[in-house]
C-alpha cells in the first residue's frame, strides 16, 4: 500500500450552534481519484475548506498531514503553496481577462517588474495542451463556454504545480460530453501523477471514475470504500449517504390520461438582441392537464431561454408566435402578467434569480403573491406568519424558524422554499427548471413526491432537466430540445437514454 499524500486526522469543526465536522478522518492515497459523497450539509465542503485553509489552522481541532508533513495552513495561499488546488463550483476566473492572464493570475511570470507576456503565452499553450483545451490563449475567458472555463481552472491549478486537485461538483453545470471530457482528463492527470479529490452528487459519475469513495453523513465519515473491490454501487452509496435504503428514487404516481390541453405554444421564435442570435426556432408544444411534461436537451440548447420567453420575457427577447392558455391566446410583457394568468416558474439558479437570500423564509414565500395577505394595501403580519408556517409544514422545510434567513438553509431546503413561494401563488401550470440541481438524494425524493401530489391535484407541470434518469423517471411525455428547436416528442414509456440523446444531438 502506498503512502498517503493526504491524511486528515480527527478533524472537528464547530460553528456557533452546529458541529459541522465531528471527528472526521480522511485519507487520500497518492495518484488516486478519491470521491467524496454525501448529502448536502454532510460536511464535504467544510472538510475541503479546512483542508484549503479557508477555515484557518486553529479554528478547527485535528491534524492535517500533507506529503508526510504536519500542516498549519493559515490561508488558502499557504495550501496553494503546498500544492493543493481547490476548484469550486462557482469558478474563480476573471471573465474580462484572457485565458493566459487567468492561468497565471497571482503568480505572473515576470521579467523585472514587467510581465513577460511571450513566456506566459508559451507556457500557457503547453498547459492547455495538457488539459486538452484547444483555444487561443489570448481569448477573453468570458467568450468560452462553461465547460472550457472549467478546463482553464484546471490549467490554472496545473500552472501552480498542484499535486492534489480538489474539485467541488465540477460537472454540475456541464453537459454530458463536457462532463465525460473532464472525467477523462482527470484519469489522464492521474497517470501523470496528480491526485484528485472529487466531490459529486452524480453517483453514476462517481462509480465510473473513483478509485476510492468516502461517504460523509452528518459531519462524520461513515465509510471509505474501495472501488476496485466491487463494493461500490449506487444502492450501497445511497444507503450510506442517507442512512437507510431508498428502494425507488422516483416515487410512484397514478398516471391519468387526459387530453385536455391547458397550455399551448405555436410557431414560437425568439431572438436575443444581447447575444445577437436566434435562440428559439419555430417551437411548438402543448401541455395537458395533470401531466408532468419533460423538456430536456444539452446545455445551451435553449431550455431555460424557452421558459423565460414564456414567462413574461424578462430578458427582452424579440418574440413572435402564439401562446394559448386554456385555448385563449395570451401575451405577457412582464412576469407579473404570466403569474396572473396562472403560470409559475421555479428558476434553475435558485440563489441567483430565485430567492432573496438575505431575507427570511416567510418573506420569500409570500413575495410573489403578497395580495393574499394584504388588507387595504397593508400587510397583515399575523396572516403572513400563519401562511408561512402552513407552507413550511406541508412541504417539510427544515428551518429553525420562519424568521431564519434563507441564506442559512441547505440547498434542498432552499429549493423547497422556492417551491413554496410558487405554490403560494396557486398556479395552474408550473415550470420547474432543473428542480434537483445541487440537492441531495433525500431532498430529491421529497421534491418528486411533492410534484406527484401536485399533478394528482390537477396541476400541470413542465419539468426542465438535463438529468436524463430523472426525466425518464418522472415525466409522462418528453420534448427534446437541440439548438433552439424541438427535435423530438416522445412518450416516456417509449423512451430511453439513448433515444433521447440521439434527438438531443440532432
Amino acid at each position: 500500500m502506498s503512502v498517503p499524500i493526504l491524511e486528515m486526522k480527527n478533524i472537528t469543526k464547530e460553528f456557533p450552534g452546529v458541529k459541522a465536522l465531528d471527528n472526521v478522518s480522511f485519507k487520500v492515497e497518492r495518484q488516486k481519484i478519491h470521491c467524496l459523497v454525501g448529502e448536502n450539509g454532510a460536511g464535504k465542503s467544510t472538510l475541503m475548506k479546512v483542508l484549503s485553509g479557508v477555515h484557518p489552522y486553529g479554528s478547527y481541532d485535528g491534524e492535517i498531514y500533507f506529503e508526510d508533513k504536519l500542516q498549519d495552513f493559515k490561508s488558502t495561499r499557504d495550501s496553494e503553496q503546498a500544492g493543493i488546488a481547490v476548484i469550486y463550483q462557482e469558478l474563480a476566473l476573471v471573465p474580462e481577462m484572457t485565458v493566459y492572464e487567468n492561468v497565471f493570475l497571482g503568480h505572473e511570470i515576470c521579467k523585472g517588474i514587467n510581465v513577460d507576456i511571450n513566456e506566459t503565452i508559451k507556457q500557457t499553450v503547453e498547459i492547455l495542451k495538457k488539459v486538452r483545451l484547444d483555444v487561443n490563449p489570448s481569448t477573453p475567458v468570458k467568450q468560452l463556454g462553461i465547460g472550457k472555463q472549467q478546463l482553464v481552472e484546471i490549467a490554472k491549478a496545473l500552472s501552480r504545480d498542484a499535486k492534489l486537485l480538489v474539485l467541488d461538483e465540477p460537472t454540475s453545470a456541464l453537459n454530458e460530453s463536457d462532463s465525460d471530457n473532464l472525467l477523462d482528463l482527470l484519469r489522464e492527470l492521474k497517470e501523470q501523477g496528480v491526485t484528485s479529490i472529487l466531490i459529486s452528487h452524480k453517483l453514476q459519475e462517481v462509480i465510473a471514475i473513483a478509485d476510492k469513495v468516502t461517504v460523509l453523513r452528518d459531519g462524520a465519515s461513515i465509510v471509505t470504500l474501495d472501488a476496485h473491490n466491487g463494493e461500490v454501487n449506487e444502492n450501497v452509496l445511497i444507503k450510506h449517504m442517507v442512512g437507510r435504503a431508498i428502494e425507488n428514487i422516483y416515487p410512484e404516481r397514478k398516471k391519468k390520461k387526459s387530453d385536455q390541453v391547458v397550455f399551448e405554444v405555436r410557431n414560437w421564435n425568439a431572438y436575443d438582441p444581447a447575444r445577437e442570435r436566434q435562440i428559439l426556432k419555430d417551437v411548438n408544444l402543448e401541455l395537458r392537464k395533470g401531466e408532468v411534461l419533460g423538456i430536456t436537451g444539452l446545455m445551451g440548447a435553449g431550455r431555460t431561454e424557452l421558459a423565460l420567453s414564456l414567462f413574461g420575457n424578462p430578458d427582452n427577447y424579440r418574440i413572435d408566435g402564439e401562446m394559448l392558455i386554456g385555448g385563449e391566446p395570451v401575451k405577457f410583457n412582464h412576469p407579473e402578467k404570466a403569474i396572473k394568468a396562472g403560470l409559475a416558474y421555479v428558476t434553475e439558479d435558485r440563489k441567483g434569480d430565485g430567492l432573496i437570500l438575505i431575507q427570511d423564509v416567510k418573506s420569500n414565500i409570500t413575495i410573489a403573491n403578497l395580495k393574499r395577505i394584504l388588507k387595504y394595501g397593508v400587510i397583515d403580519a399575523n396572516a403572513e406568519i400563519k401562511d408561512a408556517r402552513e407552507y413550511t409544514d406541508s412541504l417539510g422545510i427544515k428551518t429553525p424558524s420562519i424568521e431564519q434567513k434563507v441564506l442559512y438553509l441547505s440547498g434542498g431546503n432552499q429549493q423547497k422554499v422556492s417551491l413554496a413561494k410558487w405554490l403560494y401563488v396557486s398556479p395552474d401550470i408550473m415550470i420547474l427548471d432543473e428542480p434537483t440541481r445541487g440537492i441531495d438524494v433525500g431532498a430529491k425524493f421529497e421534491i418528486f413526491t411533492i410534484m406527484n401530489k401536485l399533478v394528482e391535484q390537477g396541476m400541470s407541470i413542465i419539468m426542465i432537466s438535463s438529468e436524463l434518469p430523472e426525466i425518464l423517471g418522472m415525466t409522462d411525455r418528453i420534448y427534446v430540445v437541440s439548438d433552439g428547436k424541438i427535435t423530438g416528442e416522445l412518450s416516456t414509456e417509449d423512451a430511453d437514454q439513448e433515444i433521447v440523446m440521439r434527438y438531443a444531438t440532432m
Binding site: F311, G312, P314, H334, P335, E336, A338, I339, K340, Y345, T347, G352, D353, G354, L355, I356, L357, I358, Q359, S363, T366, I367, A368, L370, K371, L374, G377, V378, I379, A381, N382, I385, K386, L407, Y408, K421
Partner: protein, 394 residues
C-alpha cells in the same frame, strides 16, 4: 426562560439596532458632561432638531435609494435649486405659500423621475446619472440666484417651517414655563403606543405565535415611555415642538409605515435584495426605481424648503454637500450598499448622531478641522461595527 436570559437573547438578536441607540446615548451623555449640561438643555435640543431636519429628510429618501442598490448625488443642489425656486415663486411671482409648497414638491418628484428614466430606461449607472444632476442643478441654482444673489424671503408663514413652533394651548397659569400642547401630544403618543403594543401582543397570542414574556414586555414598554417622556419633557421646557420636528417625525412615520407594513415596502426590499428574483416574482424593477427616485426628488424639495425657510432666504451655495451628509447619515444608520438592508428609522438616528456631533463640538468650541475628522472617524466606526455584527450572525 429567565428574564435575564431573555434580555441577553434580545440584545444579541438586535445588537445592531441597540448598538446605535447606545452610541447615540453615549455621545449625548458625553457632550452633556463636556458642556456642563448646555447640550441637553431644552433650547439646544430644540435647536438641534431644527438643524438636522433638512438632512434627516434627505437621509430617509437616500436610505431607499441605497436599498435598491443605487445612489443619488444630485439631491444637495436639487434641494438648493428648489429652495431658490420656492423663494422666487414667493417673492417675484407672489404666489401664495400654500400653492408654492405643493408646486415645489411636484417639481421635486419630476426631477427624481427624470433621473429614474435615465437609470431604469437607458441603464446609465445611478452614480453617473446623478452626478450629471449634481452639475445641472448646481448651474440651475447659480442661474436662479444670478440677478440678485441671495434672495431674502419676507414671508412669515414660509419662514415658520424652519423657525416656528406649534402653538400652545391657551391655558394661562397652568404649568407656567412649559409648552402644554407638546406635553399633551407626548402623552397622547405614549398612550397610543401602549395601546397598539398591547393589541398586537394579544393578537399574536391569539394566533399562538411567539411573544416576549410578560415581564420583558412591561420593561420594554416602560422604557419606551420613559424615553418618549424625556424627549417630550425636554422639548416642552423651551418653545415646544417645532414645525420642522413635526415634519421630520411625520415623514419618518409615513416612510416607516410604507417600508415595513405595505406591499410597496416589500417590493422595494425585494428589488434591493435580489433584482433578478424580484423581476421573476412579478415585481417590476423599473417601476420601483421610478417610485424610489420620485420620492427622493420630493424629499429633496422638502429639504430645500426647510433649509431656505430656516435661513429665511435662498443662497447661491444652498444645498452644498447635503448629499454627502445624507449618505453618511444613512450609512451610520445601517444601510448596506450591497442592497436590501437598511431602515428609515435607522437613518433618522444616523442623522441625529451626526448632527449631535456637530452641535456638541460647536458648543465645546472645537475647531471645524477637528470636527470633520471626528465625524469621519465616527462614520467609519459605525460601518465597521455594522459589518462586524452582520458577520457574527452568519
Amino acid at each position: 426562560m429567565s428574564f435575564f436570559k431573555e434580555f441577553l437573547t434580545l440584545l444579541k438578536k438586535n445588537i445592531r439596532d441597540y448598538g446605535m441607540y447606545i452610541a447615540l446615548f453615549v455621545i449625548m451623555a458625553f457632550f452633556t458632561i463636556a458642556t456642563d449640561g448646555i447640550f441637553i438643555s431644552s433650547r439646544n435640543i430644540s435647536n438641534l432638531m431644527n438643524q438636522m431636519g433638512y438632512i434627516a429628510v434627505l437621509a430617509i429618501g437616500m436610505t431607499l435609494v441605497i436599498v435598491i442598490r443605487h445612489i443619488d448625488l444630485s439631491v444637495g443642489y436639487l434641494a438648493g435649486f428648489l429652495g431658490a425656486l420656492a423663494a422666487i415663486a414667493l417673492t417675484s411671482w407672489n404666489l401664495p405659500v400654500l400653492l408654492v409648497i405643493p408646486l415645489v414638491l411636484i417639481f421635486g418628484v419630476a426631477a427624481g423621475l427624470i433621473a429614474a428614466v435615465t437609470i431604469a430606461k437607458f441603464g446609465i449607472p445611478s452614480f453617473v446619472a446623478t452626478l450629471a444632476g449634481w452639475l445641472i442643478y448646481r448651474g440651475a441654482l447659480l442661474r436662479a440666484t444670478l440677478k440678485t444673489g441671495t434672495i431674502v424671503i419676507p414671508n412669515d408663514t414660509f419662514n415658520a417651517i424652519g423657525n416656528g413652533y406649534i402653538p400652545d394651548l391657551p391655558l394661562e397659569g397652568f404649568l407656567p414655563g412649559t409648552h402644554k400642547l407638546t406635553l399633551l401630544l407626548g402623552i397622547i403618543g405614549a398612550v397610543l403606543l401602549v395601546i397598539s403594543e398591547i393589541r398586537s401582543r394579544k393578537k399574536k397570542m391569539a394566533y399562538d405565535f411567539e411573544v416576549l414574556s410578560k415581564n420583558m414586555f412591561i420593561v420594554k414598554t416602560i422604557f419606551t415611555i420613559i424615553l418618549l417622556g424625556a424627549v417630550t419633557y425636554v422639548l416642552a421646557g423651551y418653545n415646544g415642538l417645532s414645525w420642522t420636528a413635526v415634519i421630520v417625525l411625520s415623514v419618518t412615520l409615513i416612510y416607516h409605515f410604507l417600508t415595513t407594513q405595505t406591499f410597496l415596502g416589500r417590493h422595494i426590499y425585494a428589488v434591493g435584495g435580489n433584482p433578478e428574483a424580484a423581476e421573476l416574482s412579478g415585481i417590476s424593477v423599473s417601476k420601483i426605481t421610478y417610485v424610489v427616485f420620485g420620492s427622493m426628488g420630493m424629499l429633496s424639495a422638502l429639504s430645500g424648503m426647510l433649509f431656505a425657510s430656516r435661513l429665511q432666504s435662498a443662497t447661491t451655495t444652498a444645498g452644498q454637500g447635503f448629499e454627502l451628509d445624507a449618505i453618511a447619515a444613512a450609512y451610520v444608520g445601517g444601510v448596506s450598499s450591497a442592497g436590501g438592508v437598511g431602515k428609515v428609522t435607522g437613518s433618522l438616528i444616523g442623522a441625529i448622531v451626526m448632527m449631535s456631533l456637530t452641535n456638541g463640538m460647536n458648543l465645546m468650541g472645537i475647531d471645524i478641522s477637528t470636527q470633520y475628522i471626528v465625524r469621519g472617524a465616527v462614520l467609519v466606526a459605525a460601518v465597521v461595527f455594522d459589518v462586524a455584527t452582520r458577520k457574527q450572525r452568519a
